[in-house]
Amino acid sequence: MAPAPIFLAFASGDNDVRGKQLVISNINACQIVADAVRTTLGPRGMDKMMVDSNGKAVISNDGATIMKLLDVVHPAGKMLVDIAKSQDAEVGDGTTSVVLFAAEFLKQVKNFIEEGVHPQVIIKSFRKATELAVEKIKELAIKVRKDDVAGLRSVLERCASTTLSSKLLSANRDFFSKMAVDAVMVLDELLPLDMIGIKKITGGNLEDSLLVSGVAFKKAFSYAGFQMQPKHFKNPLISILNIELELKSEKENAEIRVENVEEYQKIVDAEWQILYDKLQSIHDSGAKVVLSKLPIGDVATQWFADRDMFCAGRIPIDDLKRIQKSCGGSMQTSAQKLTKEVLGTCGDFEERQVGGERYNFFTECPLTKACTLVLRGGTEQFIDEMERSLHDAIMIVRRALKHDAVVAGGGAIEMELSKYLRDFARTIPGKQQLIISAYARALECIPRQLCDNAGFDSTNILNELRQKHAQGAKWFGINVFTEGIADNYAACIWEPSLVKINALTAASEACCQILSVDELIKHSKGGNEYEAPDALPGRGRGRPG
């Protein structure tokens, strides 16, 4: 059977497929989608370059990013995109694995479907197998003790490092895994992701990237007079505003009627007065650094410069929120009644040159519940991919911190689950046995792909692994760097168990759904135009068939 086209909607005639044929054509479509990300898995995975319709190039090896950009239209293929997204949402990493799992599950049961096994039987066995696998992961997972600070830290670093090893930052993974853990450790107990700002500056070396435990943002657009302002403070008070510090009409729909010139002059003065009152009130509060979400005009800039204050307008709201989180204070929408209580503070404020850009740094903050990663790198695409990799690492650290259990990566957990399920399958009679064995076989797709991507002989290595696992060495996985197998738990290749649990659940859920469809009803696009309805359906003349 010809594989269904995936980037097109439906080839004509595809609509008539139903029953077994449809299931199989859907399975084939999923294989094609999975092939697109297959080679990105693992430390030796390759990146993909995608160019969108605007000519913008994206280089990535993140499964979710690739799947999103693929723009799959095939309904079954779409489900794989969905589960990649879901994995991204729930865990943040393992997006390639989840797609591979789903595709492999389907591939393994394709034969059964062809032989006429009822999809519901397969679905039921899959659910059972997933349940068993998840329980097994929970049982195998090694708990992290939260009270042991140093221990916890090293676990987190290893999890981050495992993630990064399969990404662009593989070579610098020690450096960046430390950075990711540091960043997450700064946050409060909700671990809000948006409190980690990521700034990208092209140029410089990878290792020039730095973590600011505080906030940093690019110098805002400034007016004349800015040069006169001091650029460095120790322990300044910071006022965070949502006020436009410019001459402006007080009220949109206000109208002024005056009778004489003196009165007119007074009005003009009053407008200036309003602005000066605001500035004065800010100055009186003792603030040294003035940040606003809205523009700060040239009058205000010069006024502040005269009084040795620093100001910056049009600061993105996210940065301001981070400032609030780390320096304290609250955003003010009114310049009236500015008191010291609403101001924040930090130990050190400085404007510095980073690469080709000026950056404002707020460090040594009293609350430090936010931080900023300043990434450096050669090209724009490179930094973008760096950001995605770090994002994954940060997500993994967050998850590991919330659900404190880890398993060994590098195919070790998959091999162990595969062995467990295979053993289990032998104890049950009926078709379930076959299907659970197929599920077990499908789990081996991760170690196999790791080998294939690294150019190893996968059959050989898998055999060695199977032997090891049969002997009870449950943490043996692939060592990509020595082209052999190793105890990956001892080698500190760790992943949060949640990654695997979620990947298996999502993949099997998607498979069950794809398998359960036996008919496709599709309406042509733009169906709201009037089309002459064909003669009544039915072949007529009152004879069935």
């Binding site: 309904p75 079954a76 969905d82 997204k85 879901s86 991204d88 949402a89 729930e90 006429g116 009822h118 519901q120 679905i123 039921k124 659910r127 992701l193 949502n242 007080e250 009220k251 729909n253 206000a254 109208e255 002024i256 009627r257 009165e263 009005i267 009053a270 407008e271 007065q273 609250s330 955003m331 003010q332 929408t333 009114s334 009236q336 078709k431 979620n502 659940t505 999502a506 859920e509 998607a510 759904q513 359960s516 469809v517 036996d518 008919e519 496709l520 009803i521 599709k522 309406h523 696009k525 169906g527 709201n528 135009e529 009037y530 309805p533 009544l536 359906p537 039915g538 009152g542 069935p544």
Partner: protein
Amino acid sequence: MAMHIGQAPGFSQMLSDGARYYSGLDETVVRSIEAVRELTRIVSTSYGPKGLNKMVVTHLGKMFITNDAATIIKELENEHPAVKLIIMASEMQEREIGDGTNFVLVFAGALLDQAEELLRMGISVPEITDGYELALGKALEFLDEVVCGTVTNVHDREQVQRAIKASITSKQNGTDEFLSKLITDACIALLPEKGKTFSVDNVRVIKIMGSGILASHVMNGMVFKRDIEGDVKKAADAKIAVYSCAVDINQTETKGTVLIKSAEELLQYSNREEDLLEKQIKAIAESGVKVVVSGGKMGDLALHFINKYKLLAVRLMSKFDIRRVANTVGAIVLSTLVPPTADVQGHCDLVYLDEIGDTSVVVFKQEKKEGAISTIVLRGATENSMDDVERAIDDGVNNFKAITKDNRLLPGAGATEVELSRLLTQYADTRPGLEQYAIKKFGAALDTFPKILAENAGVKAVEVLAKLHAAHLEGMKNIGFNIEEDAEAAIDAEKAGILDLYLTKASALRLAVGAAITLLRVNKIVMAKQAGGPKPPKQGAQDEDD
């Protein structure tokens, strides 16, 4: 000159151009039956726990994967008038009971199939319809005899779960146990004292992508996929004010300009405006309220004061949501920004911002046992799977409602149908007229259900049917078809806990027979030419759930 009178034109010439006209048994009834057969062919493979899903892609590109007949037919965009009739019957069932839609379609289809044979035998339409009507009356009588149990206490989790489980099994086989428990928990938690009705709308479902179905849970209170506006992210044991208006500086509806006459006025203008808003929000805070829910926008300035007075502010976009929140917390919705008096304030035990997956949600949680609204937080790997589970939950909740109306239960797994079929066949023999044939065919139509169940499970249908009939003849009236493999094909449905609701079945029978009879009685179809131009957009409900 004599007036020339032309020959009377044929009927079709009297119609305007493009109109189509069919008459006679062949062109109308038989053709309609064929069209209906096409429909039932699609939905019958979705019937029962082993039924498979259909993938429906609408012309907008939205995809449904479901085995819920109501959803499939809604998306079918059918044009055939006869099929429409059957679909209407099924929609009626959806509205009345909320479950059993597929039963209506399949049964109506089966009745028509049988009727076609009768027509071939030369039995006239009135004889068939009379027979069907007679059979229906009898079937409903017999249904009382088939009842195998009742739900004596709708507060009893075990009983309720047992009663709704079969319905969930037929939609989400595999997770049925878990889902029926969720639904039972959600429904019983808000079942009011006796004498009040249970409203389906009070069980909310919120879908959050990620994790798996088994991570879903029930929560007493409401959950919204929104962020909290202000700085306060958590409030415990809080009084709540609910506003339908915006929390902001008052804007006039009428176009107006503020007239400023002197510089002093200009200087004070914005200060006064700020003071006014501050006073309003201060008054709200002073009334003891800790949480403000608004249906309109929250201005920057208002938010500033809300933060200043440490209020938790939530903005909800839908006015239905506003109403539901007010319901949950027991508040009265205020339409102007006035400080709430004690009697319009609501109360909630815990309002907080949470993260499920990576979605921020605002949770209004009530600790007390009986709440006004409960929410099922549904997790799933794909949008489609969550949509489908949501539909199953809907059906389950509707079933619960049906139980509160009528607590009688029937054996499922085709047992009821086989028993009815047996009784009707017996009854037919006592009838002297030609309707005897129709009644027998009615019974045969009922046999379709165990047949479909068996066919969908990949088992030989005829053998199963024979086995079931034999068992029923021996008086084991609860014997149904066992869907599980590697076991006896016959199973005692009552003991296995496969139960259908009396109400669902009775209503489905009535509607299906009604639709089939109406179709049979047609002997002419005139279809006017469809008016050209794009169809007017459908007037959908404002809220997806209403």
